[in-house]
């Protein structure tokens, strides 16, 4: 049986890393979009509290504070996630371009291994170098987007830390005004669930981002 065309293990590793990088960027984008959908639930919690406040008469003032807090959190989360999702088109473009150019680079490298006649070596090498420069620009663009995503994830984490105090506030208000409201206590449970989800997603996105950055580092090392 003849050996496979991609005989070079080094080139094969580059292909796998690039594919993994592409997969990581796509996953990051998908996680951001899914979290943005989940955040709609926060809006619903805010609306529930607003309805309760309207029904509670003179005690509605305390509830309005809660409504405002939930509204503020929901808006902050939506804005931060919106900024992450806004990075998706450039992240997509750069990762697809990286994948494409990396495949081309592999084929050219294998062509070199197969042997390029002396009269064509200058042309071939110039073309190869040009492609590597474009690939480096793609990697730099990906790196910038991942760094920006990292900053936004820190912001998101800071916002998420404000969720438990809001839940505590609801418990206090419910106790103070002797409000028999299963709905408000349900809101506390929902907030706790959302907080857990948010924490999990942030950690997952951080992990994906770390993996993508590792692949970029490996690809740079492989191209050196």
């Amino acid at each position: 049986m003849p050996p496979p065309t991609f005989a070079s293990q080094g080139q094969l590793a580059v292909m796998h890393r690039t594919t993994d990088l592409y997969r990581a960027c796509m996953s990051l984008a998908a996680e951001g979009r899914s979290l943005l959908r989940e955040n709609e639930g926060m809006k619903r919690l805010g609306l529930n509290a607003q309805v309760m406040a309207a029904h509670t008469g003179q005690n509605g003032g305390s509830l309005e504070v809660i409504v405002a807090e939930i509204g503020r959190l929901s808006t902050s989360i939506r804005e931060t996630l919106g900024s992450i999702v806004a990075l998706v088109p450039t992240l997509n473009e750069a990762s697809i371009s990286t994948l494409h150019r990396s495949h081309l680079r592999t084929s050219y490298a294998l062509g070199s291994e197969a042997g390029i006649d002396a009269r064509n070596q200058v042309t071939y090498q110039a073309n190869f170098d040009g492609l590597c420069s474009q690939l480096e620009a793609d990697l730099a663009s990906l790196e910038n987007d991942l760094a920006a995503t990292g900053v936004l994830l820190c912001d998101l984490e800071r916002i998420a830390q404000q969720i438990p105090p809001v839940a505590s506030l609801i418990r206090i208000v419910v106790a103070e005004i002797h409000l028999k409201s299963e709905e408000l206590l349900g809101t506390v449970a929902d907030l706790a669930l959302f907080h857990e989800l948010l924490d999990g997603k942030i950690e997952r996105m951080r992990e994906i981002s770390r993996r993508a950055q590792e692949r970029i580092g490996e690809l740079r090392g492989g191209m050196a």
Binding site: G111, I116, Y124
Partner: protein
């Protein structure tokens, strides 16, 4: 990969590249045809990405790569020209000739090069390498709905894409048909299945029987030369096609 000078005239020569022993066995073996003129070259069906390393290595030993100014993409299949972006990088002056039918499809191999596509009308056309004229011969529905062959009247060579293609046994080394009778067994099933239209076959046969042909060069399998060219045309004329609809 074997490199063989097929025929040479005063102003140009045909080279065939094929029988790539280094290709992975999961990809079909292909023949690539390079026509080298004094100042420029035309490359017919340069092949897929998987075999690019071997092909570029072989071609680099024949001519300066930037001398390739024309590529013929006989039809849309990936084994024909999925290597498009790799060649475009190396041949910045090159134009790709293909049927208008496939322009937006072949663009999937490298949309950034679409401005270098020169689409051919259904009637085919002509191209010059230096003073030498070549003819783009229509071969639609054989097997592709937009299929182009290339005829060289000076050296009497007809490049036929998948017409005349054969799936040879492993280890076949000869580039030419040696025993026509035996060769039929390597190409019969292929033609019955891949070629969908007997009417298209008849139109094509009428057209190419009017040409003087010393070499009939398919993209897969062995090259027909001399009397075997006529034998192939006669055999093809009597074949029932479109076997999957039977």
């Amino acid at each position: 990969m074997k490199v063989h000078k097929l025929v040479e005239g005063t102003e140009h020569a045909w080279y065939v590249l094929g029988r790539d022993s280094e290709r992975t066995e999961s990809v079909i073996d292909t023949n690539e045809y390079l026509i080298v003129g004094e100042n420029e070259a035309l490359f017919c069906d340069p092949g897929g990405t998987e075999i690019f390393p071997q092909v570029v290595s072989a071609v680099s030993g024949i001519l300066p790569l930037e001398k390739i100014r024309h590529f013929l993409c006989s039809h849309q299949d990936p084994d024909v020209f999925s290597s498009l972006p790799l060649w475009m990088g190396l041949c910045p002056e090159a134009t790709i000739h293909l049927s208008w039918v496939w322009k937006t499809f072949v663009a999937h191999y490298g949309h950034e090069y679409v401005d270098r596509f020169q689409t051919l009308p259904d009637e085919g056309g002509r191209i010059y390498l230096g003073r030498r004229e070549f003819e783009f011969v229509p071969a639609h529905y054989l097997h592709s709905s937009g299929n182009i062959h290339l005829y060289d009247p000076a050296l009497k060579v007809l490049f036929t894409g998948d017409v005349g293609a054969a799936l040879l046994p492993e280890g076949t080394t000869s580039l030419f048909v040696e025993d026509f009778g035996q060769h039929v067994s390597y190409m019969e099933a292929f033609h019955r299945r891949w070629m969908p239209s007997e009417r298209a076959r008849d139109v094509w046969l009428e057209r190419v029987r009017a040409l003087e042909i010393d070499f009939l060069c398919p993209q897969h399998g062995s090259i027909f030369r001399g009397e075997d060219v006529g034998k192939f045309l006669d055999w093809f004329a009597g074949l029932s096609l479109g076997s999957a609809t039977a």
